[in-house]
Symmetry: C2
Subunit: 427 residues, 2 copies
């Protein structure tokens, strides 16, 4: 747990908005959004900038029409709803997440953060409260990265606009360019005001489902997310020699598959032996050439995904990876390529203090934890004070049709979000 | 080594034909056959019943036109050249192999056995020798099985004709049926006499390249093949649970890939620890679902190919497989399916004695060994006395453009084949 009550907040307004959070209205909005791409198994298929996702964007833009509201769309097709503050010249307080899903995703991943933000606006209206700073609710483009790679394009480009030019070239599996898909999104929301990418943000809070089992196992309804763990992705290629399975003695083989399997097995065993509950090590890809039942494999390529909240442990794990490969390569040869690395993201102390006060105000069991998954907040943290708020995932399930969260937790999350956003926007 | 000199052969005629083996003519025929499907890298692409292979069949049928020769084609498109004997009513002595190749194969696999057989006929003609029994040289259809599965269709159907009806339904990757391809083969060789599948055979000898490194390592030019090892093919499926690589603690995972890799690694280690030079254990396929870099795998399917010359060892290895899987399955589940099994083939003692005398007669270093690969002779052994003769493969390389054998060894093989076939055909 972070220490709580670190800051004195003018609690009356924040509490007032929190008390106007309407759970039924929140659930109704979540169900409406889920209807775009809903599957028979209750999963949602709404990949970034597909016709289904464009329909969901049009529905979004039909909400909150009124004098103090303005929908804005930027060059990355991030869709943003601004509720004006009494001091429009001040940097806004921002919240949000994404509305795109995995090819087969759940109804809450991303969607929850956007809908919870909109519910806070409803509650502000119901409470009749004007904030000094504008509050902005944003739906970042292509967080999942399943259709166009990389993920989190929208928030990444918002944080550093010169990244956009590279993203425009990205293609999906059918050869559609991200740029054309982005243009289609601009066209279907003509009422949204066009804006350049990026602007100063006073603070960013993203509400999200945990996507893991930690909170449920601990009995927590809310989690203040202090960090996003760092990650390193590697591609290991083992080169052997293809040979006839019937004629080649075991001793005369350079068996890329057996060698790679032993490397993976050892990596798993050594990672487990560290007894570090924060460590994640995953081999998710393992591709064999030629992949024939009666031919000794001449090449295997496998991935290694290592995550940890501490950079020093990522470095230690890279050393361990190197030594396990070296020790097991035998008569084969190998090469390792670092595909991606990102250092741990430490969220802003002040925003974390505000969030801690907010979860205390809800009166539900809460904890502080790190995020195992990436989120748009990771990129926002590069350009403004940021933090995240988690609600638990039932059985830790996510990226799956069965993804779900108890209604009471979803409502508690919206209340805490309201408390925190208002606290930040009135001070 | 088998004991030699077990039988007394009327060596003069056999020796006479052997002495008329013409190495230049043999190499010339081999190079001519290789020109059908020759690649820039010296590999040969001549899969079964493709237009290229049909051209090679037409070229074959243009050879040996004369009163004592007759080309015959049966319902499996096996192409057979009969050199009539003085007692046509006696069952013929048969030799041969196949002229189809892997998608990218070498120039000798199969081709050598057919061309060596034809060279024996040339030598018989040159020596002016008539044998009591007819000698038949056969090119079996679709030994490789790479275009139409299973392999060795021609010899399998010859051995047991009722198998043909099932083979006719086989389709290649482009949806072409084996039956149509077979019909095309029948049409392009109108001069070949049509014949029903299967007929009594006095003895069958197949000359072939070793396709492994054993003979070269031992310095042998010829090998008498006493057996073809038995084989069992298994498909192992490991079921886990897909989960987010970033959020799911190591202890909370059911990681199908890590589990399967550990199974494979242990299998390899335990197989090696048996120190049995005759044992072959190969995992050649390893397929992962979903195969995503940041998702814990929910399913892996891998193959296990186990071979040994003794059935009892195949059974012991099946037990070992079961115990390794059981011991390592952890929180995952698994199932095993036996895809195929074939007991060891023990070749005929008399034919082996004749072959042993033949390799002694050549005067080159020779050995007795088992075959690690399958061959048409495996099916012929089901219907007649059979055995095989190996020449070494340089560096053990086969199913590869680099496949090769020293000319002297190819010639020595043809000489031994001549000696053995004549011995069998005159007695």
């Amino acid at each position: 747990m972070n220490s709580l009550h670190e800051i004195q907040v003018p609690a009356s307004q924040a509490q007032g908005v929190m008390d106007h959070i309407n759970g039924d209205r929140l659930m109704q909005m979540l169900r409406q959004l889920a209807s775009f791409g809903m599957r028979n198994d209750s999963g949602v298929s709404r990949e970034a900038l597909t016709p289904t996702e464009l329909e969901a964007r049009q529905w979004l833009c039909s909400l909150f029409t009124g004098s103090q509201y303005q929908w804005v769309i930027d060059d990355a097709a991030n869709l943003l709803l601004r509720r004006e503050g009494t001091c429009p010249e001040l940097a806004p307080v921002m919240t949000g997440s994404h509305i795109d899903t995995q090819p087969v995703g759940g109804w809450l991943d991303g969607a929850y953060g956007v809908m919870a933000g909109l519910e806070v606006l409803h509650a502000l209206d119901d409470a009749g409260i004007q904030t000094r700073r504008a509050i902005e609710v944003v739906a970042w483009t292509n967080e999942e990265g399943s259709r166009f790679s990389p993920g989190a394009m929208g928030s990444s480009a918002f944080s550093q606009p010169d990244r956009l030019i590279g993203f425009l070239e990205a293609q999906d599996n059918d050869g559609h360019r991200f740029e054309s898909a982005r243009d289609a999104a601009l066209q279907v929301t003509p009422a949204a005001k066009k804006a350049a990418l990026g602007h100063p943000v006073h603070a960013y809070i993203e509400a999200h489902i945990e996507q893991g089992p930690v909170m449920e196992l601990g009995g927590y309804s809310l989690g203040v997310v202090s960090s996003i763990q760092g990650v390193r992705w590697y591609e290991v290629t083992v080169h052997g020699n293809s040979a006839h399975a019937g004629t080649t003695p075991l001793m005369a083989r350079q068996d890329a598959l057996l060698t790679a399997a032993t490397m993976v097995s050892q990596l798993g065993a050594e990672a487990a032996a560290r007894n570090d509950h924060a460590l994640r090590l995953t081999v998710g890809r393992f591709e064999v050439s030629p992949g024939s039942i009666n031919t000794v494999a001449d090449r295997v390529t496998f991935s290694v995904d290592i995550r940890h909240p501490q950079e020093s442990e990522l470095i230690a794990m890279q050393d361990l990876l190197g030594s396990v490969l070296e020790r097991n390569v035998g008569t084969c040869t190998h090469e390792v390529r670092l595909l991606m690395q990102r250092s741990p993201t430490l969220f802003d102390d002040h925003v974390l203090s505000v969030l801690s006060a907010a979860v205390v105000a809800t009166g539900v069991p809460h904890c502080s934890l790190g995020s195992g998954a990436f989120h748009d907040a990771m990129y926002l943290a590069d350009c403004c004070p940021a933090a995240m708020l988690f609600v638990p995932s039932i059985e830790g399930i996510s990226h799956n049709a069965a993804e779900n969260t108890h209604t009471a937790d979803l409502v508690a999350g919206a209340k805490a979000l309201a408390f925190a956003l208002v606290t930040l926007a009135i001070t």
